[in-house]
Each structure stands twice: as structure tokens, then as C-alpha cells.
Symmetry: C2
Subunit: 229 residues, 2 copies
DNA sequence: TTGTGTTTTTTGTTGCAACAAAATGATGAC
DNA sequence: GTCATCATTTTGTTGCAACAAAAAACACAA
């Protein structure tokens, strides 16, 4: 008789495992921009920082490495990755495919409550940009996107999209001051909200794809300017 | 019996880590259908099977769990997953998006050598089906698909597609005897080869998408029939 | 300054024992 | 038989020491 299938990582359950906690904390820091490309990570340092032994610290670093959020710079050296133009190109294409799908499928499950929540998130993005709190703007931007993707009701898809964000997250953060321009993305976000209100999958997809493309264009530009220095 | 071949992205890597070796072996077995849905995995059992200590065995099981190739059936119980209709639906949509992209981008890098290799792989699929060696047919089918996707030159994409195959792999294998029908997929595969020969990305994409959709349809049907018993 | 060979330190991995918690098996009441 | 309760066994996780290998620091020559 088959056992009842439970899903530990999906159910939003608080895992008591130290390794998972370490992983979540590191993920948060990577997204928040605590680290920059090239920063070196060691299991003993992380273990001490978190006050745990080396096993859970090692678990966290290994997992992040498997997911591409960290990379090997040598047999015994893991660092926050530098994103090459090719990497950025590839990941952008994958984001278009996956986030486009999520956006499309989100429309069917849109409610007026979600629309209100998204409008609130958008105003928080605007506020953050107005006061030059770029890290906050990036954070709310992420919340905005994932609030939409969550509507799709596709958990596998959601985790895959998240690992893509994690791969470029640190570089993104690193570039943001140059990357940010007032009103960036506002138009696309408003279009996405409108599409959701009308339950029009195709137009939500178009808005998100446009947002990703715009972001990619600016990121490439910022990267070029930085390299020139 | 088909030879064991490593994928392109880790072909050159001589990873001496026992945990990686354990992971690769388990991956191989899952794809090969050594396990069926519901089979329970334990670190001590795996450790003994492989003749290593619990640490690398645990590493392998944890990694497979993070990737979705194994799932928790309880706080201390990991099993080979049963794929629900919803899971299958979701993963199929993701496969269409990702493998469609890979197929599209493969066309630009197609060579006559690759076309020949694919024709050879297709004849091996046919041979295996003719002699009812379903596991082999499945194996060559995988080689066929990934030979195309490798052409895209997108390593991130390749590993993501692989994890998707791994998630449904065991169920796929489990159903295969009922799933297999002679000439299944031949038409789509030939269309893909033709598209590659003509460097026509759109038609390669269409062929692969059609193949995925056909497979999904048959898999759903087989699953229904089995549940009915 | 730059390169090169050498020494010292740091690092990830592995195996293993201890522990708490979960899974399993046994028992008994209804 | 069915279900609940208890005892036993099995399980994953954690911390830690040992080890080989890699990285960093150093010394010295050109």
C-alpha cells in the first residue's frame, strides 16, 4: 500500500534542520546583496557565523553550489559567481520561457485582492526608488514578480524560477545603483496588473516578458559601462 | 546493453568526491528504472550498497531530494515519488517551455554529423522497441533528446531539463511496458531530424513539442488504465 | 617589479559515534 | 477483524577529529 505523499519543502513548513536554516539564511543574504561576485565562502566561516558545526554549513554551501547560486573557482574554493554575458543571455532566455509560462497561467487565478496587493507592492517599489533605497526596490520587485507567479499554482515552476533569480541575484544587486532608473519597469508592471484584472493570460505574459527584456537590456548596458572603467 | 555515458556538462570533470559518485549512480538507477514509485531510500542502506560512509550517501540522497527526484513521505522517510496528474501536467508544461527553447536554439548549431548520429540513435530506438527491450528504448530516447538539446550550447538549460526528466523518470519507467507502442514518436523524431538538417529552429521546436505532447497523452492514458485496475 | 620554488596554513571531505525523533512491530481492548 | 497504545528498532542529523589536497604566504633570484 503506497504511503501518503507529503511534501516537506512545499508546505511552508518550518524545517528544524540546521542545514536548511543555514541555506535559507544564505539565500536571503545573496538576494539582499550582502555578498558581491567573487566573494569567497568557506564552511568553517559560515559555521562560526551561524554558530553551528561544519555539517549543516557544508550542506548549505553544497546545495547553493548545486543550484548554481555559488560556483567553484577551484577544487576547494566556492565563490559568488561572476555572471558572464553568455550566462546572462542564457538565463534571460530561460526566464522568458518559465516566467512567461507562470505569468500566463497566473491570469486564470487572479482575484481583486491580488490586484490590490500588487498595486500596493508597486507603490512600495516607487517609494523605494524615490528615496534611492535600491536594495529595497529590488526586494519589492521580487515580491511583485513572485506574487504573480505564485498565482499559477505551479510549485515546481516556482522553485525553478527562484533558482534562476538566485543565479543572477548577486550580480544584479552589485549593478543596481547604476542599473536603477526612476520609473524603470513601471509601465510593464502596470500592464501586468491590468492583464490580471482582465484575466488575460496572453497580455500578462507579454507584460512580464517585456519587463524581463527591458531588465536584460539595462543590465547588459550597466555591465558594459562598468567593464569599461 | 547501452553503454553508460556521462552528460556533456560533467564529462570532463573528474570529481573524486564520493558524494558526487553516489549521486551519479543513484541518478543512473532512477533513470534506468531500478526503483519504482514508493520505494524507500535510507542513507545507511545506500552507504552499505556503495561501500562508503553515511556522509556521502546522505549527500546524494539530500541532493536528489532537493532536485525533486526523491520526495519526503515523512520527516525521516524519503521515497521515489508517485507522480500525481497535476505534477505530470505541470512538468509537461515546463518541459514544453524549456525543451522547446533548447530545440529551437539547437538548429543553429546543427551539423551533418549530428544528423547522422541522430538517425543512428533513432534506429537503435526502433531496434529496442522491435525486440521489446523497453528500458533500452527509453534510454536511447533520452539520448536522442539530449543530443539535440546539447546542441543549443546552453548548459544551465541542459541541467534544468535533466532534473525535469529525473522527476518523472521513475514513474515513466514504471509505466513503460503499457506506455510503449511500436512506432511511438518516430514521426516526431524524424521531423526533428529534418528540421535540424534544414537549420529550421521553428520546425525543430514544433517537432519536439509534438513529441512531448504525444508522450504526455499516452502517459496519462496508461496511468488512467493502471489506476482503474 | 616579476616570476618561481618552497613552506605554512587553510580547506573540503570523509568516517563515525551519539542523540532525539520517527517508523515499525507487538500487545491488548473492544 | 479494528483500532489505539506501548515498546523496540531504525532513521536522519549533528558535531567532531583526522587526513589529503589546495590555497596562501613567504623567500629569494633575476
Amino acid at each position: 500500500m503506497p504511503a501518503v505523499e507529503r511534501d516537506a519543502h512545499d508546505a511552508g513548513k518550518q524545517s528544524a534542520r540546521l542545514g536548511d536554516i543555514a541555506y535559507e539564511k544564505m539565500k536571503e543574504r545573496l538576494i539582499r546583496g550582502t555578498f558581491g561576485p567573487g566573494d569567497k565562502l568557506t564552511v568553517r566561516a559560515l559555521a562560526e557565523t551561524l554558530g553551528v558545526s561544519s555539517t549543516p554549513a557544508r550542506d548549505a554551501i553544497n546545495r547553493l553550489t548545486y543550484e548554481g547560486a555559488l560556483v567553484y573557482a577551484g577544487p576547494k574554493t566556492v565563490i559568488v559567481p561572476f555572471i558572464s554575458p553568455q550566462d546572462l543571455e542564457e538565463i534571460t532566455l530561460m526566464r522568458l520561457a518559465l516566467e512567461g509560462l507562470a505569468a500566463d497561467r497566473a491570469a486564470a487565478n487572479a482575484t481583486s485582492e491580488v490586484v490590490l496587493e500588487l498595486e500596493k507592492l508597486q507603490s512600495q517599489i516607487n517609494d523605494a526608488l524615490d528615496s534611492a533605497r535600491f536594495t529595497d526596490a529590488l526586494w519589492w520587485n521580487k515580491e511583485f514578480h513572485f506574487s504573480i507567479y505564485r498565482l499559477s499554482g505551479m510549485p515546481h515552476l516556482l522553485t525553478m524560477i527562484e533558482t534562476l533569480w538566485l543565479r543572477i541575484g548577486a550580480s544584479f544587486n552589485d549593478l543596481y545603483p547604476e542599473f536603477a532608473e526612476k520609473k524603470y519597469g513601471v509601465h510593464n508592471h502596470l500592464a501586468a496588473i491590468e492583464g490580471l484584472a482582465e484575466r488575460d493570460g496572453a497580455s500578462v505574459r507579454a507584460a512580464i516578458e517585456s519587463d524581463i527584456r527591458d531588465g536584460h537590456r539595462r543590465l547588459k548596458k550597466a555591465n558594459r559601462e562598468r567593464s569599461a572603467k
